[in-house]
């Protein structure tokens, strides 16, 4: 219903437009286009998958740690995959590992981490009312949900889920005769991943568009919080690499269902010589890892971005080397596309290429080193407040160092010969990805929970959760390094068949117990999360006394975030403990001209430029008045 565009104009006339439209349950919680609600949808869904992924890991760890254990009590859930004498089926073990990997990497850390915080924080921190296209955002979530539904279904089909490892290398994944999981389970995996890719691309397009086009006045690229830089670069990585996985999957689909020979060649299986000829299994590996490696940085960069924010805030100190951090992330972004074949050193790779990739792989360690040292320097001479988010951020740095350094071993192609596909690799990526990135996710939840739900999480429970998890994770994954150096191969259902591998049964038992306890600790977090959502202490508007824009919105921001004008930005996001300033933080929205006592010399110069911003603002107001009259 059109309202009259009357010729008269008065200050109070806008009151007619201020009333909110009445949202029903469907449009507010289900088919919402509000980026905040979509972010929460991603988070809750991610948590669901985290529990599933965690439970899967516990099951196969039971098998690994206690090979003689009677798993009959799992039969009600797992059905025929538990044999009558209580043993786990070897194929189902592989399926568990495969689904555990896929779920954790894609559903939890990609969708749950990037999906949650990109959606939630980008408009809030850059000063936009919403994403460029709310509809695309909504579509992004529902494609992800659909993908999850399909993947969930695949867990329960008769022939079992995909079980060729999370990398699903052909021919194993292409041929149903090779293993039962490569039948319907693999098909569902591919369909789910297709929808997941669609979801990620839609989201990524939206994030990039929003960051570039919808920043508020004054929010230049050099005033963006590192969180946003991280999300922005993550989206770019995703945009460029997910289509490649799509291509790989497409060709795999053709091989599986239409009889082409992209990846298949010279195969005699199940008593039959297949007609496929001229294919190259290594081709798939190239295409997969062209995504696979950037994917690990899709997982890590948001976590590093979140950590930058939290460490600076809770150190009450500006992040050290803001520009260097950005350049580091840009370096990681670029380099992440040129190191993919370090996963393929022993796949028959051309030796020359191996040398190139080794060289480039170790270069990527340099920007990462810069980030680590910058974090440490941010902590140095800070005034550290240990909020749960801060603890998890420190934990992240620790895991990143531990895991990253083991990457140095793996990046060295000569050393990788021995270590490839051993538990050393498992330990490496669990420390950087399973732990560092996961801690980033937790840190983000603890830090932005007050903004998401308007309430505070219980800090004491957070501390308990952190210490149990931090210690627990090290107890789980650190021993794996020793296991890997001893040459234990990964994806082994049982190690008792080999002489060289059956010496660490007690350590495996130790790891499994630690894993169970670690997972149990997450239940504290889950309780804290859901209980605080409803009964937590009501949060103040800026509980961590942070400088960034999201804390200038109301406690429960409506769709559109700021009820009135979007605040303009005048300074970078890390003005903590400025010499001469009254408070130990100055929000981005405070003009430099308003704080002459704390301005640095170069900032005094910028006060002049600031007048231009203000003048521009004034000009817009006058111009708009002229249009009205």
């Amino acid at each position: 219903m059109a309202t009259a565009h009357t010729a008269t104009h008065s200050d109070t006339s806008h009151d007619h437009h201020d009333h909110e439209h009445h949202e029903n349950f469907i449009t507010k919680y289900i088919f919402t286009q509000d980026h905040k609600m979509i972010g929460k949808q991603f988070l809750i869904t991610g948590m669901f998958w985290a529990i599933i992924g965690g439970l899967l890991s516990l099951i196969f760890r039971l098998q690994l740690g206690f090979p003689e254990m009677d798993l009959g009590w799992l039969r009600p859930v797992l059905g025929g995959w538990i044999s009558p004498d209580g043993k786990l089926d070897p194929e189902f073990y592989l399926a568990l590992v495969t689904m555990h990997g896929t779920i954790m990497v894609f559903f939890v850390l990609t969708a749950g981490l990037s999906g949650t915080f990109s959606n939630f924080l980008i408009p809030l921190q850059i000063g936009a009312r919403d994403m460029a296209s709310g509809f695309m955002n909504m579509l992004s979530y529902w494609f992800f949900f659909l993908s999850g539904v399909i993947m969930f279904i695949s867990l329960f089909i008769e022939t079992g889920p995909a079980s060729g490892g999370w990398v699903v290398y052909p021919p194993l994944s292409a041929l149903e005769q090779a293993m039962p999981g490569s039948g319907l389970g693999m098909t569902l995996w591919l369909i789910a991943m297709t929808f997941f890719i669609a979801s990620s691309l839609l989201g990524g397009i939206n994030y990039i568009t929003t960051v570039i086009n919808l920043r508020t006045k004054g929010m230049s690229f050099s005033k963006l919080p590192l969180t946003i830089w991280a999300f922005f670069l993550t989206a770019i990585i995703g945009l460029l690499s997910f289509p490649v996985l799509f291509s790989a999957a497409l060709l795999l689909v053709f091989d599986r269902s239409f009889g082409t020979s992209f990846y298949l060649s010279d195969i005699y299986i199940g008593g039959e010589a297949l007609p496929n000829t001229g294919g190259s299994p290594v081709l798939y590996q190239h295409l997969f890892w062209f995504l696979g490696h950037p994917e690990v940085y899709i997982v890590l960069l948001p976590a590093l971005g979140i950590t930058s924010e939290i460490i600076a805030t809770n150190s009450r100190k500006p992040i050290f080397g803001y520009k260097a951090m950005i350049i580091s992330m840009l370096g990681i972004t670029i380099l992440s596309f040129v190191v993919w074949a370090h996963h393929m050193f022993v796949s028959g790779l051309n030796p020359f290429l191996g040398s190139i990739f080794m060289f480039l792989t170790l270069i990527i360690a340099i920007p990462s080193a810069v980030k680590v040292f910058n974090y440490l320097t941010t902590l140095w001479r800070g005034n550290l407040i240990f909020t749960p988010g801060m603890l998890f951020s420190i934990g992240l740095v620790s895991f990143f160092i531990s895991g990253g350094l083991t990457g140095i071993f793996l990046g060295n192609s000569a050393i990788d010969i021995q270590l490839h596909d051993t538990y050393f690799v498992v330990a490496h990526f669990h420390l950087v990805m399973g732990s560092a990135s996961f801690f980033g996710l937790m840190a983000g939840v603890y830090h932005w929970f007050p903004k998401m739900f308007g309430r505070m999480m219980d800090a004491r429970l957070g501390y308990v959760h952190f210490w149990l998890t931090f210690v627990g994770v090290y107890l789980v994954f650190f021993p794996m390094h020793y296991i890997g150096i001893a040459g234990f191969p990964r994806r082994y259902y049982s190690w008792t068949g080999f002489e060289f591998s059956n010496m660490y049964t007690d350590l495996n038992m130790f790891v499994s117990i630690a894993a169970i306890l670690t997972f149990g600790a997450q239940l504290i977090f889950l309780f804290n999360f859901f209980y605080s959502m409803y009964r937590g202490r009501v949060a103040s508007l800026n509980p961590w006394r942070s400088t960034t824009l999201e804390w200038t919105t109301p406690l429960h921001p409506g769709h559109g975030n700021w009820p009135g004008e979007i605040p303009a930005v005048y300074r970078w996001p890390y003005d903590y403990s400025k010499p001469g300033a009254k408070e130990d933080f100055i929000p981005q929205t405070v003009p430099l001209s308003a704080t002459p006592e704390s301005n640095l010399p170069h900032e005094q110069e910028l006060v002049k430029l600031e007048k231009e911003i203000i003048a521009d603002e004034e000009a817009v107001l006058v111009a708009n008045e002229a249009k009205e009259s």
């Binding site: 230049s220 291509s247 001229g278 081709l283 170069h602």
Partner: protein, 193 residues
């Protein structure tokens, strides 16, 4: 002192591009990556040997001409829209749609021609890749034709005019991209035989 100034800049002007169009460009980037990875895979496989050599169907030549022509007619429609000449807009868009459909039909017949030359989807990857390239491109072109029709319908409802060029511009961009993509693919195949 220099390095201290460098990390804070003055008021940066926003990028002068419509967010929706920018998003379309990003989408184009993803399509580029899909085709780039497939053409890279093609090169790798070809270099590994065991490769079937055959000639490309002649229909591809005619199809290339049609696609180019459709870009011209669409651009003519675009220019007309800028001048509020709605009659020409509709003519141009209808022509472009027809040419697009002709192109698709031509691609279908080119598959027939390939089969006649014993180049099948199944079998040697040389043939398989050809089908994948043309098939995937055709799928994207179908979406392009759909977009054309949407904009055409909009023009009948007087929603396309010089003050409202967004959808038209996006359509033009996308169609030109698809045309250029085909020319690239065709040249690529031509040069790799």
């Amino acid at each position: 002192m220099e390095e201290k100034i460098s990390y804070i800049e003055g008021a940066e002007q926003p990028i002068a591009m419509h967010p929706k169009k920018f998003a379309l460009w990003l989408f184009i980037v993803t399509v580029v990556m899909i085709f780039a990875s497939l053409t890279s895979a093609y090169i790798v496989r070809q270099s590994e040997g065991n490769w079937l050599e055959f000639d490309l169907p002649e229909i591809f030549w005619y199809n290339s001409a049609i696609i180019l022509l459709s870009s011209i007619t669409l651009h003519w429609a675009y220019m007309s829209a800028k001048k509020d000449d709605l009659a020409k807009v509709r003519s141009g868009m209808i022509l472009t749609s027809i040419l697009g459909v002709i192109f698709l039909v031509g691609q279908w017949y080119s598959w027939g021609a390939l089969v006649d030359r014993d180049v099948f989807f199944v079998g040697n990857p040389a043939g398989s890749f050809l089908y994948v390239f043309t098939g995937l491109h055709a799928l994207h072109l179908i979406s392009g034709v759909i977009f054309l029709i949407i904009v055409l319908i909009s023009s009948f409802r007087f929603q396309v005019h010089s003050k409202n060029m967004d959808s038209m511009e996006m359509c033009v961009t996308y169609w030109h991209f698809l045309g250029g993509l085909w020319l690239y693919l065709f040249m690529f195949l031509l040069l790799n035989h």
